[in-house]
Symmetry: none
Subunit: 151 residues, 4 copies
C-alpha cells in the first residue's frame, strides 16, 4: 500500500509483456511437442488481455475459450479445473458458467500466475486440444513462471 | 395503493441509500471479522443497484457476481441458495442460470431484504469468499435490517 | 517495475476502498448542495468497479451511465468530455460510443483520478443531472483527490 | 479453387502465426520509436484473432479497440479510416458503428493485410495513441507485409 499524502493507493503487481511472451513461448513449445496446435492467452491481475497467439492449425473457435480460461483463472485465483467440482450438479457453484457473459469457464486449461508469496499477477489460458492437453500446456508455462519468479 | 382521481398507482417501498450503506457497513464488518475481503452489493425492489463496495483485496472478478446475487435475490424474492434446488438437473427451473444474460445466479450469498410483512424492498449480494462465507456475510446484513425495520 | 528473480512485473497503483468512499462522500455533498441527487461510481486503474452509490431520487437509469463514465475516464485517461470533440461528425473518433458494448461514453461527468505524476489510478463517473451538473460533481471529487494525493 | 470430385471447395489464404508475430514486431518497434506504447492485434482472413500484444503502459481500454480495428479492416477489406466517410451523417453507411456488437469501428488504425493481387488475408489493428499515431504504426506493419509478400 502506497501513501501519497493522505491517500493510500493499492499497490498491484501485473503481468508485463516480455514475461507474458516468454510464457507463451514455453506454452507454444509444449504444444508443438505434443503436436497439438493451441490458442494461448495471458491476462493481467485485473483480467485484461496482455498477449495472445493462435498457433497455425488451432481451432479459431477456441481463441475466445483460451481468453475465458485466462480471465477466469486470474479472477478466481485458481485453476479453472479446480473450480469445476463446485459447479457440478448438487454442488454450491452450480451454474457459475453462465456468469460474466460466458467468460466464466471451468474447463481445464486456465491457471493463475502467482508470485512466490501467492499474489496473483495474471492468468494463462490454453484451448484447442482436449481439456487434459490444454492443462498440460498451461502447466508448462506456470512451471516456467515459477522458475522466473524464484530465479 | 394510492388513488388520484380514477387512477390507482402502485406504492412501492424501496431501499434508500442510507439504509443500503448501513447494511454494507454491517456486511463489511462481518467480512473483516472473517478476514475475507468481499464485494458487497445492494439493489432496490426493482433490482437496480443502490450501493456497492469492493473491499481491498477482494476479487475483481466477483464484483459482477455480487451484483448478480443481489439482483437475483430481489427478483426471486428469496435467497439465491433457496432457488438453487429447483435448478438442478431434472428439476423444473433447470437452466435458469442462463436467463437475464448471466445475471441469474443460484450461488449462495444473495438474500432478499424484506419488511416485517414480507414485502421485498431490495436484495443484498456478497461474493469473493466461499459460498458459505458469502452467505454468512449476507445473513449478518439481513439480521441488521430486520432490527432496523422492527425498530 | 518489480524484479523477482528473472521476472519483472509491472507495478500498478489502484484505488483503495477508503479513498473511493471518501471521494464519493465529497461528490455526494456537492450533489446535495446542488439539490440534484446523483449516481456516483469509482473504478480502479484497470476499469473495475470499486464503489458505487445511488442517492435517493437519482435516476435508476443513470447508474449504468455513471459506471460507464468512470470506466471510460480510467480507460482513456482523460475526462469523458475531453474525448467528446474527437467523436463528433467529421472528427477522427466518430462512432467511438459504440465500442466496449456501450460502456464507452463521452457525456460529461467522467474524470480520471491521477497521482501528482499523472499516473491514472482510477476514474469517477457521475450521472443523473445535466451533463454540466454531472461534471461539476465529478470535479469536486477530483479536487478532493488532488488534495489527498498532494496532502 | 480446388475440385475434389464434384465438390469445389474455396481455397483461402490466411495469416499464419509467424507472419502475424513478425508484423507485430514491426508495429511494436514503430510504436517504441514514437514512445507510444500500443495494443496491436492481427486477425486472419475470417476476422478471427491470430495474435495480440499489449505493450507495457498501453491503455487496457484500447485492447478491445485494437481488435475491433483489425476485425473491421479484414471484414471491410479496407482501412478503418477509409470506411469512415461513408458513415458520416447524411452518408449511406451512417450508424454502421453500431453493427457487430460494437466491433465495427472507423477510427483510424485498422488496415487490411493483402497479397500482391489484392486478396485480403487478414487485418491489423493498433490502438492506444491518437488516431494518427495508431494509423502510422499500422502502416509500418503493412509496409513490412508488402515486402514479405513480394519478397
Amino acid at each position: 500500500m502506497l501513501r501519497r499524502g493522505g491517500a493510500k493507493m493499492l499497490t498491484k503487481y501485473g503481468m508485463d509483456l516480455a514475461t507474458a511472451e516468454a510464457l507463451i513461448d514455453v506454452a507454444q513449445q509444449a504444444a508443438a511437442a505434443m503436436s497439438v496446435p493451441q490458442n494461448i492467452a495471458v491476462v493481467d491481475e485485473s483480467g485484461n488481455l496482455v498477449a495472445f497467439r493462435r498457433m497455425d492449425g488451432a481451432k479459431f473457435f477456441a481463441s475466445e475459450i483460451a481468453m475465458a480460461k485466462a480471465f477466469t483463472a486470474a479472477g478466481t485465483r485458481r485453476g479453472t479445473h479446480e473450480t469445476y467440482p463446485a459447479t457440478q450438479p448438487g454442488q454450491p457453484a452450480f451454474g457459475a458458467q453462465a456468469l460474466h457473459g460466458g467468460r466464466f469457464t471451468t474447463i481445464a486449461g486456465g491457471l493463475p500466475l502467482m508470485l512466490a508469496d501467492g499474489t496473483v499477477v495474471g492468468g494463462i489460458g490454453v484451448s484447442s486440444g482436449t481439456a487434459a492437453q490444454d492443462l498440460e500446456v498451461a502447466q508448462a508455462a506456470v512451471a516456467a513462471f515459477a522458475t522466473l519468479v524464484q530465479g
